[in-house]
């Protein structure tokens, strides 16, 4: 093993060359592996969105880069767009990439507690990625039964017509879960046991708390779906009847298993994004985070409550109406703790000296855009309204207003903020702001029309609206074209980011140790941190958010500085 105690840091051999990047047990390298895999998959998912939005705006057109789209193509692309963006972009980037990179650096230790388990976690994840992508090249093509994979469509190849694609999709998702369970155990135990001397529970930066809580929520919610995945796999390949009502099975059981995981999953990806935003707004507002302890306990409450809301996805699945009442109440209740966290983030800004650097712009836009997503969710959480909105583009626009801020805005906030620490260089601020404007404005222009279309009754999962006279009216088609053109603009601006990212990595301005005058421990070591992170591991004397403390010359007070 290449891992070694920092005391012997000069003696031990760090693997060199390619081996260092593909076989490393260093948490920073593994974080990068997750980050780059996630970014690659974001390009794949984005390309899928481009292809099927072109089909919706211009039905039957010869799509550049894809060709003419058939209905099975369309279903496969929509299904895998959702699957990829949640399981292969949001989770690997927000939790695995930043969790791996940040947790040891922010709690002041040299690595994860189980470095080899960590490496295995990435390798299993990579295998799952390859399987998912391979499913596009098997007979019958990739699975097209939606990312929720409801049986009987997903269970029987006579219905879904993808005898290979469906089991491969399921296998990829199950392996991905296994990878995140391994990573999660590492994150949780590392944070519980390996904090720097002096770092008490309330001295842990919020983003670390959020990633750990997300890992716990994931671990406790994914089990039933893991069992469900085995059952569905047997239905697909052995011909059992777990979800087949003709043979004593129950298709709604899958929906319960899926959403028992699926709704907590929203909080699994939301919490890390909120943690990232919390770090950024305190640094760029130069203020102590408003109500750290209440926010922490509110998050615990939200985590517990997230296990009680799942059936709001099934209001029209034939569940007992009395049960729908209960889930309406719990769903509306869970907006309270989330609102508390959002309000405390906003309150942190009050009276601060705000610096509108690129990461801060992303963090502020997260709060704004996520609020829109949260507020539109209230309509869907109420069973009465949801019966009308269900499976419409209103739902689609709603969850893109939550997931886009989480997976895309949150990621850009984190990348632009920690880039100097990750690569030792600064990103270009002007290009960063151009990319910000070119992403946020088109994002709203994509999904506001889709809210309107959803209210007008436009159903999801329809390949071509030309067969539906009520929905094929020109005023609706114009909105679809508008949304698609906005998407093209937004995708075009991502090349600005990619250029900025890679060119800054090579020839950006060199970054000092602590370019933002931040308090948390990752800013007390070199940029980028060496193997082993510190030559001498830090101790902690105070909480992470002591900014603008009266009576101090500096407006920041690093956690590791003895008082």
């Amino acid at each position: 093993m290449a891992e070694s105690a920092p005391a012997t840091h000069d003696d031990h051999h760090e693997p060199s060359g390619l081996i260092k990047y593909i076989w490393s047990t260093d948490h920073k390298i593994i974080g990068m592996q997750y980050l780059f895999t996630g970014m690659f998959m974001a390009l794949v998912g984005g390309f899928f969105a481009y292809a099927f939005r072109m089909q919706l705006a211009f039905p039957g057109v010869d799509i550049p880069g894809w060709g003419t789209m058939t209905p099975p193509d369309y279903n496969a692309l929509v299904t895998n767009h959702g699957t990829i963006m949640i399981f292969w972009v949001a989770m690997p980037v927000l939790i695995a990439a930043f969790g791996n990179f940040l947790i040891p650096l922010m709690i002041g230790c040299d690595d994860m507690v189980f470095p080899r388990l960590n490496r295995l976690s990435y390798q299993v994840f990579l295998l799952s990625t390859i399987i998912l992508l391979a499913s596009f090249f098997v007979p019958g093509g990739a699975f097209g039964g939606a990312w929720t994979a409801y049986p009987p469509l997903s269970a029987q190849s006579t219905y879904n017509l993808t005898p290979w694609g469906a089991p491969l999709w399921l296998l990829a998702v199950a392996l991905e879960f296994a990878a995140f369970l391994m990573g999660g155990i590492n994150f949780i135990t590392t944070t519980m046991n390996s904090r720097a001397p002096g770092m008490k529970m309330h001295d842990i930066p919020l983003v670390v708390w959020m990633i750990v809580l997300a890992s716990i929520i994931f671990m406790l919610s994914v089990g039933p779906l893991f069992a469900g995945a085995i059952m569905l796999f047997f239905d697909q390949v052995l011909g059992t009847g777990f979800f087949d009502p003709n043979r004593g099975g129950d298709p709604v059981l899958w929906q319960h298993m899926f959403w028992f995981f699926g709704h907590p999953e929203v909080y699994v990806v939301l919490l890390p994004a909120m943690g990232i935003v919390a770090e950024i707004i305190t640094v760029f507002a130069r203020k102590k985070f408003f109500a750290y302890t209440p926010v922490l306990y509110t998050t615990f409450a939200a985590g517990v409550a997230s296990f009680t809301v799942w059936a709001h996805h099934q209001f029209i699945a034939g569940i007992d109406p009395r049960m729908a009442h209960i889930f309406t109440v719990t769903t509306l209740l869970i907006s309270v703790p989330i609102a508390v966290i959002v309000f405390c983030s906003i309150a942190t800004l009050y009276g601060g000296s705000i610096r509108f650097k690129t990461p801060m712009l992303w963090a502020l836009s997260f709060i704004f855009e996520f609020l829109l997503g949260g507020v539109t969710g209230i309509y869907l959480g109420a069973a009465g309204a949801d019966v009308y909105f269900h499976d419409s583009y209103f739902v689609l626009a709603h969850f893109h207003y939550t997931f886009f801020p989480i997976a895309i805005i949150g990621t850009f906030a984190a990348i632009t903020y920690w880039f100097p620490k990750m690569f030792g260089r600064h990103m270009n601020e002007t290009l960063g702001k151009i990319h910000f404007v070119g992403t946020i404005i088109p994002f709203n222009l994509i999904f506001i029309p889709l809210f309107i279309l959803g209210l007008a009754g436009q159903h999801r999962r329809i390949y071509s609206f030309s067969l539906f006279p009520d929905l094929a009216k020109p005023e609706f088609q114009d909105l679809r074209v508008f949304a698609t053109v906005s998407l093209l603009v937004m995708l075009a601006f991502q090349f600005v980011f990619l250029f900025n990212f890679f060119s800054s990595m090579i020839k950006g301005r060199k970054a000092e140790k602590n370019p933002y005058d931040a308090n948390t421990l990752e800013w007390t070591t070199e940029s980028p941190p060496p193997h082993g992170n510190w030559s001498e591991l830090p101790s902690v004397y105070r909480g992470p958010y002591e900014y603008s403390v009266p009576g101090r010359a500096d407006d920041f007070w690093p956690q590791n500085e003895p008082s």
Binding site: S4, I185, S194, R195, M219, L220, G248
Partner: protein, 189 residues
């Protein structure tokens, strides 16, 4: 070489034991989901008791006895490891492994006979649950036996003795799962 991170213990609980507890937590929800599904189906299908009547309670009871006894030697192995006696700990783990292997062999004969009588995984959803739940459990027994072999081999050299306790924890968990499976699949006719 271990990272410094692995040598710290802010909670006072050894990191490895903490990790095994979290592993068990993640496993509880997997088996919990499967068994909850089974129980709900079972309550909705009275006719399944006719299928369950074909399971052999005596074989199930024998395997329960084997598995529970194997946990005893796991505990004795832990005790020996605490006393620093790696040789004895390894010997105790070998007894436990023997129990695990016996369990699997009995299960193999049991399943062979059932399949020969026409009760396959697809013949009825009761049998689907029967083979899935017991099969998932058997995979855990098999994994436990293999890991226990590795732990015993190092313990024999008086190295990494703390691992004896960890594999024991896991083994007890596998036992507890069987204690749920046995009444649900065999006793409830």
């Amino acid at each position: 070489m271990r990272p410094v991170a692995n040598t710290r213990s802010a909670t006072g609980i050894p990191t490895a034991r903490l990790a095994v507890w979290w592993l068990i937590a993640s496993e509880i929800v997997i088996f919990g989901g499967l068994l909850a599904s089974y129980i709900m189906h079972r309550l909705a299908h009275d006719a399944w008791s006719q299928q369950a009547a074909y399971t052999n309670t005596w074989i199930g009871a024998f395997n329960t006895l084997v598995l529970l006894s194997s946990s005893l030697s796991a505990v004795l192995g832990h005790k020996a490891a605490d006393e620093g006696n790696g040789q004895k700990a390894a010997k105790m783990l070998y007894f436990t492994m023997l129990g695990g292997v016996t369990f699997l062999v009995v299960k193999a004969f049991e399943w062979t006979s059932e399949i020969q009588h026409g009760f396959t995984i697809t013949s009825n959803t009761f049998w689907s649950f029967y083979y899935s739940a017991a099969g998932l459990h058997a995979m855990h027994v098999l994994a436990g036996v293999i890991v226990m072999g590795i732990v015993a081999a190092t313990a024999k050299k008086n190295e990494e003795l703390h691992r004896v306790e960890l594999i024991g924890l896991y083994w007890h968990f596998v036992d507890v799962v069987w204690i749920f499976l046995f009444p649900l699949l065999y006793i409830a006719k």
